[in-house]
């Protein structure tokens, strides 16, 4: 089973989580001022990278909180995770890099579950 690092609870099994799509997509402040194309871009256009992807998760059957994580969609490895509402950490590889670095979500970084 995939192990996912919750920034609050630590490393936990995949079965406790719900995926919630790409992270850092801001809802337009004035939706009525957008044309159909721009609104459609907001609703549907996603980066869909083969590589590192910043995405939202919810620890549904745990602390219940949404958070963000960077996961490599090619290797399925989690690079890091961070609290919802905070920016993607500096130094995390961009979506352009094909391979994720070694998984860093060991207990030393995340603490005991």
């Amino acid at each position: 089973m995939l192990l996912i690092p919750c920034p609050i609870c630590g490393i936990r099994p995949e079965a406790e989580f719900t995926y919630a799509g790409e992270a850092h997509i801001a809802r337009p402040a004035e939706p009525a001022s957008l044309d159909d194309h721009a609104w459609g871009e907001f609703l549907y256009a996603r980066t869909n990278p083969k590589g590192d992807h910043a995405e939202r998760w919810r620890h549904t059957h745990g602390c219940g909180r949404f958070f963000n994580a960077v996961r490599n969609t090619h290797t399925d490895r989690f690079i890091t995770s961070y609290l919802a509402g905070t920016a993607r950490p500096h130094g995390t590889p961009s979506a352009a890099s094909p391979d994720a670095p070694a998984m860093r979500n060991d207990t030393e970084q995340w603490g005991q579950a």
Binding site: P13, E16, H61, C63, G64, A113
Partner: protein, 187 residues
């Protein structure tokens, strides 16, 4: 704080007797020397959301702020469920706040869920049949509590002692969880 949280309100035994019937065969399951599975005593349960210190004052208990930890004091237990969320357990009729807490939510969940107790050296293994967490004492020490899953049901798991777990489960899932625990019990 709403004035509905009185001891009378928390014990509507005469009005709703069906809520006090356990939704599964409540006879204790005994595997000598290895496992004892039995219902937890009748409990009052409140779910608290809000500021830890203000809620702690209202319920005379310092709420744990460390993730996934439970504290016990004054005959009450507070289980951390989330960064601003706790499950408070105590004897029926005793969980009445002493002062109001603006901006907090206090929800009576006393009959929403039931408690199960697993005791004995086989308890971690039996739980592992449906729970994907690492239950080794170094990963899940005494005093740790968390929401998690057991099979297809959500539970709250609390390790009260090395070989004693308290499981809270929504009552409509209780028969399923109890049945799965029975099937996992050592022969």
């Amino acid at each position: 704080m709403p004035d509905t949280l009185t001891p009378d309100r928390l014990q509507p035994r005469d009005a709703l007797p069906i809520l006090f019937e356990l939704p599964y065969d409540a006879r204790p399951l005994v595997v000598p020397g290895r496992l004892l599975l039995h219902p937890a005593p009748d409990l009052a349960r409140l779910v608290l959301r809000g500021d830890a210190s203000a809620l702690g004052v209202a319920f005379s208990l310092e709420l744990p702020t460390q993730p996934c930890r439970a504290v016990e004091a004054n005959g009450r237990s507070a289980l951390w469920l989330g960064p601003d969320e706790w499950l408070l357990l105590a004897s029926p009729g005793t969980l009445v706040p002493t002062v109001s807490v603006p901006g907090a939510a206090v929800v009576d969940a006393g009959h929403r869920q039931v408690g199960l107790i697993l005791e004995g050296p086989s308890a971690p293994d039996v739980l592992a049949a449906g729970c994907p967490l690492d239950l080794h004492p170094t990963a899940f020490p005494v005093g740790m509590c968390t929401r998690t899953v057991f099979g297809k049901a959500e539970i709250v798991l609390w390790r009260q002692d090395n070989a004693r777990f308290h499981v809270e489960v929504w009552r409509s899932f209780a028969a399923y969880v109890h049945g799965l625990l029975e099937r996992a019990a050592p022969l």
